[in-house]
Amino acid sequence: MKTAVIVFPGSNCDRDVAVALERATGSRPAMVWHTEASLPDGTAAVAVPGGFSYGDYLRSGAVAARSPVMRAVADAAAKGVPVLGVCNGFQVLTEAGLLPGALMRNRGLNYICRPVALTVGEANSPFLTRYTAGETVKVPVAHNDGSYFADPETLDRLEGEGRVAFRYAETVNGSARSIAGITNSQGNVLGMMPHPERAAEPAHGNTDGARLFEGLLAAAS
């Protein structure tokens, strides 16, 4: 399975997510620099990694969302290619309009970096095939701007359409309706603040995140 990891100036989880993808799929992802206008032929899944793209200037993810490669990512997403955005990647996907809402400064103004308990939502997504709705998993977060915001109509729509992928099972950052991750209406685009690639092998002390990448492979085969 050919995958791609998008790299922006200031990305810092690109190699971590590449390792997690390689462990799950058995092949090394293409690392795609943000100035590229297209993805490698045959790209079957895309990851937009965490970090501090463009130093979080203007708004987290705002400048990266307007970079040339994001048009190619949007085209791929429209064709049903699975796209995962983690942390800054989630911020980029909302800024690019691939997912609704916005990520705001954490309610407590602290940078939060710790494993948190998540409840898996009802969302139908290739990334979630190895999870069961309602189960609790533990995945680390590491963010300053992780408080999910959307207007009440959008939140109702996300819940009504079963597009909440993960909710915080504990108090974390003030996210609306405890949302930690959502999908687009087709389910192939997933944005989440927690870092599944940091809970992807036994050395991490927890492999709850590995199932997200394994599920991707299972959904593709």
Binding site: V63, R66, A102, N106, R107, L109, F149, D151, G174
Partner: protein, 76 residues
């Protein structure tokens, strides 16, 4: 020509920075400070005669995130 774009959070969007500033003002002894909201001002040096519709487009495409922010353009 110089144009100033004022970007502010929409009413109803929680502003934890504003809240922290309000608390700090209170602890400095400034009583009677109500809601505090933080925004930003972006100054743009533009070619003379730049169409205001073009500035509006800049705001909507990049300078403001209209999911959470309002903007106002001021000719400086």
């Amino acid at each position: 020509m110089l144009v100033k774009v004022h970007v502010t959070l929409k009413p109803g969007v929680l502003d934890p920075q504003g809240r922290a500033i309000g608390h700090a003002l209170g602890s400095l002894g400034f009583d009677g400070v109500g809601d505090v909201r933080v925004g930003k001002v972006i100054e743009l040096e533009l070619a003379d005669g730049t169409d205001s519709a073009r500035v509006d487009e800049m705001c909507r495409q990049l300078l403001a995130n209209t999911v959470i922010e309002n903007y106002r353009v001021e000719a400086a």
